[in-house]
Symmetry: C2
Subunit: 760 residues, 2 copies
Amino acid sequence: MTRYKNKYFTSIISKNRLELNSYSRLNYLNKMKRTLFLLTFTAMTLFSSAQSWIWYPGDYEIWLGNEMNNRRTERGAFFPHFWKMDSHYVLVEFSKKIDLAAAEEIEISVEGKFNIKLDGKLQFGMPTKFTLPAGKHSLNIKVWNQATPPTIFVKGKTVNTDASWKVTYEDKEWIDESGKASDTSATIYMDAATSDSFKSADTSPSKYKLPTEPMAAVKREKKNDGELIDFGKETFGFIKLQGLKGTGKVHMYYGESPEEALDTKFCETLDRLSLDASSVTDEARNVTSKSEDNYTLGNNKAFRYVYITKDAGVSYADVSMLYEYKPEVQKGSFRCNDEEVNRMWEVGAYTMQLTTREFFIDGIKRDRWTWSGDAIQSYLMNYYLFFDAETVKKTIWLLRGKDPVTSHTNTIMDYTFYWFLSIYDYYKFTGDTHFIQQVYPRMQSMMDYVLGRTNKNGMVEGQTGDWVFVDWADGYMDKHGELSYEQVLFCKSLETMALCADLAKNSADKAKYDDLATALRSKLEPAFWNETKKALVHNRFDGKQQEQITRYSNMFAVFFNYLSPEKQQLIKKSVLMNDSVMKISTPYMRFYELEALCAMGEQKAVMKEMKDYWGGMIREGATSFWEKYNTIDKGTQHLAMYGRPYGKSLCHAWGASPIYLLGKYYLGIQPVKAGYSEFAIAPNLGGMKWMEGTVPTPKGEIKLYMNEKNIKVTATEGKGYLTFVSKSKPKASKGLVEKLEGNKYRLLIEGKEEVVVSYK
Amino acid sequence: MTRYKNKYFTSIISKNRLELNSYSRLNYLNKMKRTLFLLTFTAMTLFSSAQSWIWYPGDYEIWLGNEMNNRRTERGAFFPHFWKMDSHYVLVEFSKKIDLAAAEEIEISVEGKFNIKLDGKLQFGMPTKFTLPAGKHSLNIKVWNQATPPTIFVKGKTVNTDASWKVTYEDKEWIDESGKASDTSATIYMDAATSDSFKSADTSPSKYKLPTEPMAAVKREKKNDGELIDFGKETFGFIKLQGLKGTGKVHMYYGESPEEALDTKFCETLDRLSLDASSVTDEARNVTSKSEDNYTLGNNKAFRYVYITKDAGVSYADVSMLYEYKPEVQKGSFRCNDEEVNRMWEVGAYTMQLTTREFFIDGIKRDRWTWSGDAIQSYLMNYYLFFDAETVKKTIWLLRGKDPVTSHTNTIMDYTFYWFLSIYDYYKFTGDTHFIQQVYPRMQSMMDYVLGRTNKNGMVEGQTGDWVFVDWADGYMDKHGELSYEQVLFCKSLETMALCADLAKNSADKAKYDDLATALRSKLEPAFWNETKKALVHNRFDGKQQEQITRYSNMFAVFFNYLSPEKQQLIKKSVLMNDSVMKISTPYMRFYELEALCAMGEQKAVMKEMKDYWGGMIREGATSFWEKYNTIDKGTQHLAMYGRPYGKSLCHAWGASPIYLLGKYYLGIQPVKAGYSEFAIAPNLGGMKWMEGTVPTPKGEIKLYMNEKNIKVTATEGKGYLTFVSKSKPKASKGLVEKLEGNKYRLLIEGKEEVVVSYK
């Protein structure tokens, strides 16, 4: 039940659940979840101990990412991305020092052509079994594979492939004239990468595929010369034509809306089949599959509707689909008295489910790519929903790719900075220092690229070929010169480098990046603060502040705490709650805008905004959240974008931010120290009568219920303060409530028992 | 006949050709060659105009190089190299601006998944035919291929893929919210790479294979429990067992010598087959081929002998081989009155034929890899033999690989410098500026790597992981501190960078590298010249000159003209012709040692050395030249190297230097200006009674005959001076002989007619 598949969603979305007592239902769900949680616990640990297929860190991720990103199509045309597509190292060497009490036979599975070296001596052929003698030995397995990443799986009584193996792309081990081997002490060895998805010899990584499940249409309807099929909600997978017979052509036009599916000239995606007496051909040359007369399309698509037209000589009995999904355990939850808010959370969770695939992608219909600015939001929502740490790491590796750096991440300057920021976020939520250390060298070279493009003020400016994105804005936004938004993100990135340098035990780098961050930060206010406008201006050009004020840098400066509390309050009035400043119409930037307001305690106002904005999409019929939405536009206008009538994505990860806002700023739960070893709980009803929910932690969860009189908290790992406001002295079932300034109180939450607080 | 295949060599090596009048035979050969030359002229031009498959420059070379380098085995184990193996760009975009008088249908062949964009609009599917409308258009084809390089072949009436197409790995073309495309003016486009090997749709580059030809053994002999097969000379290819039947195992042990083949415990390469009732299995998992009862091994090997043992249940009727070779036209030639010298040239040419494969490799038995220090000598010999410019370029691309640079070329410091030097050599012999411009960015990043590793004196010193090779020396050689040899090569590399920067029209770089080269050169004498020893010392450690004198830096300083003529003469005595200085026992360094002596006019002494050294190998039974040879060692000692009894390669490219020395310093022909637009001819009999030969030029040849009275010269392109010594005033059939200092004369050679000079 907690496996997040379409059946589950069919039920939660289509049933009226007002009849259920919400709290008891949540308890039931939580119990179910705990059971499953124990069953799947092994699969959730950050570091696994049992054997796994292993590879060079980041390499499988890059290869799989290419496979996924390259499934994008536009009206039957292959549509790969426009930045450098990297490749895995085609030749790598895995090694392990072993010390065996007794001789031991190992089984060896390899993806690639390989050799085995024992104590420096090459062994004949490519054996599938090999006996290691007792004692201390060096075991090396060197693999070449151009088509898919070199990976190995070794299984023995004590010798098994895991993260304790070393791996290099360049061993620099040569033999001189006398037969003496070289000094390899300068060779760079990484810890081998592993995954809980590949724990047996037969799960070779290059064969990895997301699972699918049959799903029926909810409605079939004749329209013009064809048939419109409705699957009831936004979904993703492979169309299946059952009982397909005859000779001629079949056209399939996909739509996230009925308008799109029926508009055969302009819908974004389509398929064409051609049947003759002996075979069915996909005209775009996708690999398809056939079983008897049932024909399954080869390229997965996003749609709710499919419109099918065909030649008279062709017939089919039925149309269904294979729903393709990433199996995720929904560990986070949220319920409250307001069903519109609950629905918002559920549609958000479903949007996350659809956009969490091999990697976190932007949207399922059009791009289907990993985009750094989109991904950092997916990660943050994920920490409040699936806590799928592995997919975060995978996406970070893929977005970074390989050296040399030849462009900003996804070519976008701001996306480079989000890439840095996302790494420290990951550390904060998971406490996984090891990953920071593994990825740190690529952080260095990425930052070298950025530093190599700063101007004489040490600031970044867009150069030709740099995409200065910021946001899909509804009005003119200047992208020239020094944008305050980019400098704020750059500054935070330098701070992130310093923090990660420290984790990677690189003190010289820590000092260097601390200095760079301090220097840049000291320039921000002089460069951009405008005392008349009481705000940071949008940009500076030729050393001159420009007139425009936008929300972006102002809201980031607020929650990065880059400005004094006084200036933050000024900004709240002059920018954030000022309707004359260009409004944000993407959930992408609304994410940060509402976060900034929440950080300043404006939960009530934000609740109103959320109900207006996300509630608005739901009232327009959304079954997943959109790429862009303007509460003023009604009807089908919302379908157009990028100059195309159906360009807009109706299932876009960045649409799901209520997941994050409700978890972090209403349940009020977040890590204070890495991996929730210390947490903060500062719940805020923000106008709701009651709320309850769960926030996952690396190996546990924090559960909270709150109404206007009581707060109940259970934390299965870590400790931290529950902070709340009460008019009178509150009572706690356990622990000592401390009074802070004003009406604020705090209570230390420790141990796994439920703590109940009464307040007013 | 001039196709350089085994049949030809069988004849030239095994027949006694003293009966032929050498000069008339040469004339005949030359006529034959000219005929063939015309036939193959198209295949020899540096830039082709007809359509070809195209790819990203260097990418196919890297991919094919990996395929070739990874065929190395050691006693049945896969043996790939120990430096980074690079990959092609897996996603590239080809583009072409077209302007058509009429609509035109093109045929499209692609290796990879692709799309077509016309004027920015994606087209459906992956069509094999496409109609381009009349008028001006942009045509883009974007291809993804992980397993093999993305390549395309377009054939139309006027639109055809050739070097005028552009290609990029990162187009940076995005579409903004309004549908507007980005400014791609900063995108880096290269000229597409082409090859004369891939001129039709069915010759797709990834299918490329060297041709083979059946070859019979010359002798079969029972030895111990098996049979020793002799193919009469060093050769390369696939063993074929004819009439193979039964059940059991067959073992094949290869040898360049009978000793090696018979030593089943220590021979360097071997194969094992296992036969059961239904199939034959190669136990090292090579892909093999079978036709009826004839079984051909899957992995090519170098050998003269193969020793076969088998189980009693197995039988075979005969053993033959498929000789695998690179088709080359032998455009250079040399003959003289001394048959030992002729034989040296022929064995050298055969050594070159065997080691010139997909790329120029070091030796055919063991490494079978591209090695920069070996390759630069292959290139130089090649300019006097095949003039195969394409294989030079391919090898240069492969040796360089991709950015980032993570080690010296082949991990060897000196080999990095030879890589730079080889590029300017290539320019000098071919005049191909375009290649210099294409490869220049990779020269920059390679030099950045070197400059990033210099010490406080601006000199290079070996760091951990750097292989300071110099030579396989017979005695101790210090590799610590600043080696004079490495600084001399480094200095020449900086000069090369300046020259190539100029060709690449990068004046800032030219100035920068000129300065660096001047600075380093000014430090060489103060650092290394020892007035007592009248020589450059081998190295400096902690700022102190060390005692050892070696030949290496001294001989390079001579022919780089880094020292005054006085010091050069001192070195000749104190080092080059001084037997107390450690002798060189590799043909590798003998190449430069003898070149230095020739450059100082010591052709007679060098002829004696050549007859002693290369003549010595021939007298030991060599049918191709060896990796290392010491004229003192006799018998089978010469087989051992690297601590292994048969470690030494008996067919090593660097063994073939007589080809180069005879062409450049006896025929005396070399380019003065790029591509032989101006040449120099300074023939020197060096003790021979007469000599004659041909030196190829980019589109022609220079033919020379000389005896003690006459010199005959024909040059089909370029012009230049014939310089010679005569006791009395010489006469010329054409042109005016000018007198120079002493007995020296010169005559300008121009036009295609033969010029005859009488001298004394």
